[in-house]
Amino acid sequence: MSAAITVSRRLALISLPTLLLLAAALVTALLAVGLGSVPISPAETLQAIRHGLSGAELSGNDVIVWQLRLPRVALGFLVGAALAVSGGAFQAVFRNPLADPYLMGVASGAGLGATLVIALGLTTLWLPLFALSGALLSVFIALAIAREGGRLPPARLILAGVVVGSILTAFTTYLLLQSEDRIRQVFAFTLGNLAFAGWPQVGRLLPYVLIGGGVLLLLSKALNTLQLGDLTARSLGLPVERLRLLVIIAASLCTAGAVSYAGIIGFVGLVTPHLVRRLWGADYRVLLPVSAVAGGTLLVLSDLLARTLTRPAELPVGVVTTLLGGPFFLYLLRRQKT
């Protein structure tokens, strides 16, 4: 049986959709580095990358390509990948197709952290730390409340997560009403923002995504087994509760890291695993890595559109991910039906 899975998995990974996805990822990355609110020729772009790599003193358009655009693309890809992998993992542990990376109150916790920074008038340099702490705190509160004996029943987890999230959102709303001149800043955070992505942010987010995402990829075989149901999985020797806890923590770490550097970006984490499932099947050993590439590509593409459609003005990237991913998803849903 395991040999058969391995063969089909290899086939799935070298299929036409995979090649198309990789091509799309590459083309999107090239376009995203080449295009932006300031027009820069391809030759100049290449030269800027050479200058950046050589560590030379940067000036003019070099700065824009090397210090603004490249890290923005890199951060966008990391965030998209993190959200898509977490979304896929959440959908697996809850066996619920509506699960998304923000399920355990991650987004509300991060939002409250960010709002605190803004409402207290602290410098925005504190934003990642507060958002991350808020996100993780809400997850741990939800876990503590949902725990029943040694168990973590999915329905209780979802309920606890939703309610903890609502309470934190109420706090956020209260804080916002107290400092209404800052509403727009918090609002922007809740729509996602990659505008100030730099190499340091990429470097700081990378460990979260590598560790959180890495753990999820390592657990993908166990996630497959979990699809058979808790009882069957347990009788096959799977430590269901510990697995569930570990996946939730790893996915939350991934998501919280992404939220703290890019704000709350909707839809990527919910929709990407679905799209991947339709084209590649439901084997999590394929689904998770493919989702990472697809989610990263979707977000980089959305951000490219966000900063070029109205240039040199910008749209909030979360609006674009939803407008781009939503209709496509509905189209697939409709086609599947008929």
Partner: protein, 285 residues
């Protein structure tokens, strides 16, 4: 709005004293009729509170919103919340003849239901600061004072403009209103002041008055001044350390000036002078 004002003054034929009942169209496009000169006024906009006081109507104010803080005497008045969290009961208890609100917030319905006359007067553009001053003068029967104030303001602004017009070099500037980043276009009220202060706004007018822009644009435009944020925050942004304003330490965070600039009211000339002194210190020695 100007048209409405000229029309009504022509009809009434009075140069100074307002004759009541007075009917005017407010900023929500509603026809409002004042039966008599209002003696008890509640203001929900800090800039309107400032204007009312500057034209001799401070004594008529019986309540203000929580952000009204100038001149000092309005801080002693009862507070009635703000546009988005109003304390309607407190307003009603003050028995105002008129409540002045903005076109934002949803105060009209609850106050009207309580039998109170409400009028929306909120200046947004540079020219509206003057036209709305006149309208407030008309409403409270202080039209002559309002006209005098406008003349004085225009005179004080002209004094600064004469200096900055002759400035040899006009530095480029970027004014951030919040770090998302949102900025101001040259036709916005702050944008007009920036130009009058002798600076060149890097934002093209085609983007509108308060656009959300790409940081790439700021790096590319390399402004010589940055307003609305501090140096540390500017330095922390990727690539911004190459911007002349950041290199030369011309990133200006002046909370008092920012607050003046956010009040489209009688302290406009002061705001302009403050801005001009930063942009052209050599002209104010």
């Amino acid at each position: 709005m100007n048209k409405v004002f000229f029309l009504s003054s022509a009809l009434l034929g009075a140069a100074h004293a307002t004759s009541y009942p007075l009917t005017l169209t407010d900023d929500l496009g509603r026809k409002v009729t004042l039966k008599a000169e209002p003696m008890r006024i509640v203001s929900f906009l800090p800039s309107d509170s400032e204007t009312l006081c500057a034209i001799g109507g401070c004594g008529k104010l019986v309540g203000v919103d929580e952000y009204s803080d100038f001149p000092a005497q309005v801080t002693k008045l009862p507070k009635v919340g703000n546009l988005y969290q109003p304390n309607i009961e407190a307003v009603v208890a003050l028995r105002p003849d008129i409540v002045i609100v903005s076109k934002y917030g949803d105060l009209i319905q609850p106050l009207t239901n309580a039998g109170i006359t409400v009028v929306a007067v909120n200046p947004e553009t540079y020219e509206e600061v003057f036209s709305k001053t006149i309208i407030l003068g008309k409403i409270i029967n202080r039209e002559a004072q309002a006209k005098a104030l406008v003349i004085q303001m225009r005179r004080d602004i002209a004094k600064v403009e004469i200096l900055t017009k002759n400035a040899v070099k006009k530095p480029t500037a970027y004014y951030e209103i919040d770090p998302t980043p949102y900025t101001v276009g040259p036709n916005s009220f702050i944008g007009v002041l920036l130009t009058k202060a002798g600076a060149i706004n890097i934002i093209p007018a085609s983007l509108g008055d308060f656009p959300k822009i790409s940081p790439e644009l700021v790096v590319k435009s390399a402004p010589q001044f940055i307003f609305g944020m501090n140096l540390a925050a500017a330095k922390a942004r990727p690539g911004w350390n190459t911007i002349p304003a950041v290199k030369l330490g011309r990133v200006v965070e002046d909370k008092a000036l920012d607050q003046l600039l956010s009040r489209p009211g009688p302290r406009l000339p002061q705001a302009l002078a403050g801005l001009a002194k930063v942009v052209h210190p050599e002209l104010f020695k």
